[in-house]
Symmetry: C2
Subunit: 294 residues, 2 copies
């Protein structure tokens, strides 16, 4: 793993999104990139489906909002990244032939750096008919920081961030569209993912409503010990900022009291005991359903 002494200021833009109005959303995203970059942020992260909205009811309705990567909107994002010398992660719908992916793209001054297609699809919104992500979890580099991407429901599964940590991630970002039922997830899982992997973890949610769904904000940036650095409210548009030190995320071994209390979040793993995690589940595919009160 390369050493680095450079820190990086990152930003998470908690914003409302206009349903099925890519040009309006793109214009606002460009302004937010200019604002955050004016505050010194070098990496600016936006919510899931920030370009498009989320609550589509059919593939036919959603496909016209989807674009290839790169496509017209992504090229405009590259332009603003070039003008501001910044990187951005933006949630969007990716079109590949007649397939739709719930995706996000990492763009920088030199063009598209990487993309991610949501692997874990809940039965909700556009994910009812999106194609499940088909590429292995990967890590990309932005200004010396190794970046992993997950989207929303992915973060409820510990496996994605674990695989990206093993691939060298310093920072994992989670563009999300959390509905009200995700409050426990928002409160606890982000800190846990950061702690268990000893990485920075940033969840960037949207606010506002769409077709009866309210999104709960609560965007958050956590440090590698699992402590919250900064947390947004439930209904405000706001930009969260934090200074990321990738060298800290790479020091998995933590000496709390020399010789008496030392741990290592990665070297202390026992991968020889974890085999069932990557095997097909023995659970019945159609388990009985549950309808909780929420």
């Amino acid at each position: 793993m390369t050493e680095t002494n450079k820190t990086m200021k990152v930003a998470g833009v908690q914003m409302d999104v206009a349903f099925a109005d890519v040009s309006a959303n793109l214009a606002r995203i460009e302004k937010f990139i200019q604002e955050a970059s004016g505050q010194g942020a070098e990496l600016i992260v936006f919510p899931e489906c920030a370009l498009t909205g989320y609550c589509y009811t059919s593939l036919e309705e959603a496909l016209p909002q989807a674009e290839p990567i790169p496509g017209p909107s992504v090229r405009r994002l590259v332009d603003v990244c070039r003008q501001t010398n910044s990187h951005a992660v933006v949630g969007m719908l990716e079109r590949v032939g007649s397939q739709l992916f719930n995706a996000c793209v990492l763009v920088g001054p030199a063009g598209v750096v990487g993309g991610y297609r949501k692997v874990h699809l809940p039965g909700l919104g556009v994910d009812h008919f999106a194609t499940p992500g088909d590429r292995p979890f990967q890590v990309w580099e932005a200004n010396g920081v190794r970046l992993g991407m997950n989207i929303c429901y992915d973060g409820a599964f510990p496996e994605g961030s674990r695989v990206m940590t093993l691939a060298g991630a310093d920072l994992i970002v989670l563009p999300t569209n959390w509905p009200t039922a995700a409050e426990s997830f928002a409160r606890h899982a982000i800190n846990t993912r950061a702690m268990e992997n000893h990485v920075y973890y940033m969840s960037v949610d949207r606010v506002g409503e769409e077709r009866g769904y309210r999104f709960i904000g609560m965007s958050k940036i956590c440090d590698p010990t699992g402590e919250t650095i900064v947390l947004a409210g439930s209904d405000e548009e706001t930009i969260l900022y934090a200074e990321i030190d990738p060298a800290w995320a790479r020091r998995k071994r933590q000496v709390r009291i020399p010789g008496l209390h030392e741990i290592d979040r990665i070297a202390d793993r026992r991968p020889e005991m974890y085999g069932p995690i990557s095997q097909p589940s023995a659970f019945p595919a159609k388990a009985p359903a549950d309808t909780p009160a929420d």
Copy 2:
């Protein structure tokens, strides 16, 4: 998976522990079992090393406090479980020849049901010289509830509870001895383990001090959505109670709005993407060390 309509009252005993005084600790544990069972609890869970204490400095010092399973102390625990018609999980040091395991035992009216040997060992206390757990993660049955056991630092690794969930756990218990540095773990990881696996999760910590280490209490029982049912303070001896409904833990599929919002914490997994988790890590075995402020 067998169906069940029976619920079970469980108890977690947050207590202080006398260092290297098994008979004093055993006498108190017996009284706590009688008290909790008098309140209707059918399963009563105690902290890590509740029989022995934790902060040993050498194998020679610790071995005389260790016992086989079953051994004299475990037989007395079986007696009190028979008298009270209850099950108990008790943290102890297990001796096997000249080896020492940081272990817990599940006992019931009919004898020893199962045992667990801590798999993930932090560089702290007795874990400096304990032998790492050598048995696969397993699930045991107590009065119709399928029970998984982890100990303390194990809970910081998502893999253990994931494997036990895939093996059918309804409830995972975590006897623990959390030092002050584990506060973020205590606040967030217990809820996350419950939510991500859709199981009940109970952490049972000790309180008090031992050789300069203070233990932070904060024992907790969470429901399968990740909500806290009951939480203990940082320095009180107390018994937490909750009613467990194993049938709820087995309904992994959650219908929030029929046809519009349905998820399944297990069926929505993508195990074909998780292979690196069970492979030896590419990380350097001796990563550079970190010394945080805490």
